[in-house]
């Protein structure tokens, strides 16, 4: 546990340089194993993710999604809450925003009203979905790991459900699996034919606000204390239970906001809305050392890989599934390098001296 204190420091712990080097090496080995030429593959990767304005648009849109879900994970892991439900909260946000945009708001809603309302609806739905798990933990002692996992699966089926039936959110004019199109005043149009949209700019204030909140406010101190040692935090008069509930709400709201934004950028709800990004966000948050400011470059790095891998598959014949392998290995490598999550140290010490504190 000697290096466990690294986590408590407020300085940025972005493992960028090592990470990039490791990724390049790893990718080269895998590409070689696939029987492709590493140089050709890297060229395709860079061309596909950063070689044109269209590529950049796609990369930055992916980055925004990963950034919001990554912040959601970072803030809850910091507080010692293993909320692995970003995937479900993201979907809940997307569904709620789509319902509001296509069922409630009038066709001619002005953008100044439609955009913030939809984002707000997404954040609220994500927070609500997450607080279900929070409430189960607080009043029934249900582990958030199981509850958020179950809620993820329910949300994904719910998404498939609402886009399958016209009486719910499906667009009757299309084949199954697509929601009705949003009114113009509620959609985030891509700029100049690319996937880049105004919502991407929201990542900057989000990252900054989260950093301020976590490291420069009393609430953030309570949050970190609750994660590092809930027993001590409680003894210091911090309302640990309430802090945890707020963290559930905050992280759910962040993921839900990302979901609403992704849906608004797509212009409608679809069955395949950034699938598995909620799980990738765990890699993003860990690579950022759970630091809000570092989440942004970390998200960009993974977004580059993600969009680039599709191009790599097309032109260098390297399967795009490679990205999952790389993400998983990154997490394992970071865990092995002695990155300790606040919760694990607490669990260990609490089990040793108090017989366990849930």
């Amino acid at each position: 546990m000697a290096n466990g204190n690294a986590q408590a420091k407020s300085s940025a712990t972005f493992h960028g340089p090592i990470l990039v080097l490791g990724l390049v090496l790893l990718l080269a080995v895998i590409v070689k194993l696939c029987g492709a030429d590493p140089r050709q593959a890297f060229e395709a990767l860079l061309r596909g993710s950063a070689g044109s304005s269209v590529a950049w648009g796609q990369t930055l849109a992916s980055m925004a999604v990963l950034c919001f879900s990554g912040l959601a994970i970072a803030v809850s892991f910091r507080a010692g809450i293993f909320n692995i439900g970003a995937e479900g909260q993201f979907v809940a946000g997307a569904i709620a925003a789509a319902a509001l945009g296509t069922r409630v708001l009038p066709e001619g809603v002005p953008a100044a009203l439609g955009l913030p309302l939809l984002l707000l609806a997404g954040a609220a739905a994500g927070a609500g979905w997450s607080m279900l798990a929070g409430a189960m933990k607080r009043w029934r002692g249900v582990s958030e790991v199981i509850s958020t996992l179950m809620l993820n699966l329910v949300a994904l089926i719910l998404l498939r459900y609402v886009v399958s039936y016209p009486f719910l959110l499906r667009d009757p004019a299309t084949i199954e699996g697509k929601g009705a199109p949003l009114p113009d005043g509620a959609a985030l149009a891509g700029w100049g034919g690319t996937g880049f949209h105004a919502g991407v700019f929201l990542t900057l204030p989000a990252v900054a606000l989260l950093w301020l909140l976590v490291f420069r406010t009393r609430a953030g101190l309570s949050l970190r204390a609750a994660g590092l040692n809930p027993t001590a935090a409680h003894a210091c008069g911090i309302p640990v239970e309430r802090v945890r509930m707020l963290v559930f709400a905050l992280s759910g709201a962040l993921a839900g906001l990302g979901g609403a934004m992704a849906m608004m950028a797509a212009g409608r709800l679809t069955k395949q809305l950034y699938p598995d990004y909620g799980y990738m966000a765990i890699a993003v948050a860990l690579a950022a050392g759970l630091h809000p400011l570092a989440v942004l470059p970390s998200a960009l790095l993974f977004a580059l890989l993600e969009t680039g891998s599709k191009a790599m598959e097309r032109s260098a014949n390297v399967p795009s599934e490679v990205i999952f392998l790389i993400e998983g290995l990154v997490i394992l490598a970071l865990l092995s390098r002695g990155i300790r999550l606040p919760g694990t140290r607490v669990a260990a010490s609490a089990a040793a001296d108090a017989g366990g504190e849930a």
């Binding site: 249900v142 329910v154 392998l325 998983g328």
Partner: protein
């Protein structure tokens, strides 16, 4: 009457892969380790089982390979959890990603060979009675493993040690039980079971592989263990119930009845949540040291 039997047969068939994975997971969780990576373990088993059965023409070899692959993936988790002392949940999620990427890209590389042709990949037990008992050998194995695991957990000395490790590793260690070794062995066994469960999908059921072929069944197994309160019989009952829910969905769909299949699909997860919140309260039967590093 035939309809009922067909439904029961489908229940058992659909329930078996989940049951296999859940029985292993129940043992592992009783030793205090939560394997969120079970989905990845199943996927690895599904892949290894399919490729081996397809290339050798022997489903038996396929089943063996799937158990090896499952145990190997679980060994990585055990290493992370027991040696590195990394967080169990995050390690498990990482393993899911690794397995998804590894099997997905390996299958892409093999895909063209596989499409060219395949051997027989059917693993059937002798038929004793029509329909209900016309199940594959793996289904038989899955259901026969339930009493065996019950006996191991509740009636054997080794099982007692394992439960002690899950409830209070410190006390177990002090009384001379090697906690890490016990958990490592449990992880290997659980990995073999989950791998075999994965192979059931690719060998017995579909004779094909796809990168999402486990489709959340590992998570269903996790739910079954929770709903079954970590006991062998309870977990098996939960698996049969989940099998019935999925079988009912398929039958409703086939019969064109106006029941939305999505509702039935959600049922296992919703029921698990409801049970945790309302029925079990704090008497969940979860081992005291579950998920905690030692």
């Amino acid at each position: 009457m035939d309809d009922v039997l067909l439904f029961l047969a489908a229940t058992l068939r659909i329930g078996s892969p989940v049951l296999l994975a859940a029985m292993g997971e129940a043992v592992l969780e009783r030793s205090g380790v939560l394997n969120i990576g079970i989905e990845g373990v199943m996927l690895a088993g599904a892949f290894a089982g399919f490729v081996t059965a397809w290339s050798t023409g022997s489903p038996l070899l396929g089943a063996g390979a799937s158990m090896l692959a499952g145990a190997l993936v679980a060994a990585v988790l055990a290493f992370m959890v027991l040696r590195v002392k990394a967080d169990q949940i995050v390690s498990g999620m990482a393993l899911n990603l690794v397995a998804m990427g590894l099997t997905g890209s390996a299958y892409r590389a093999l895909e063209n060979h596989v499409r060219a042709g395949g051997g027989s990949t059917d693993l059937r037990a002798p038929t004793f009675a029509p329909i209900l008992f016309e199940q594959t050998a793996l289904t038989w194995f899955a259901f026969l493993s339930v009493p065996a695991i019950w006996f191991y957990l509740e009636r054997s000395e080794r099982g007692l040690e394992l439960r002690a490790v899950g409830e209070h590793p410190g006390a177990a260690q002090a009384s001379g039980v090697d906690v890490a070794a016990c958990r490592f062995k449990a992880a290997l066994a659980a990995g073999a079971f989950a791998g075999l469960g994965g192979a059931f999908l690719t060998i017995s059921q579909t004779a094909s592989f796809s990168s999402h072929c486990t489709n959340g069944r590992g998570f269903v197994a996790l739910a079954a263990v929770v709903l079954g309160r970590y006991s062998a019989w309870g977990t098996a009952a939960a698996c049969v119930f989940f099998g019935a829910a999925f079988a009912a969905r398929d039958r409703f769909q086939a019969s064109g009845l106006n029941v939305h299949p999505e509702i039935l699909e959600m049922l296992p997860y919703l029921l698990t949540l409801f049970a945790l919140v309302f029925a079990l309260r704090r008497r969940t039967g979860a081992p005291a040291a579950l998920g905690k590093p030692f």
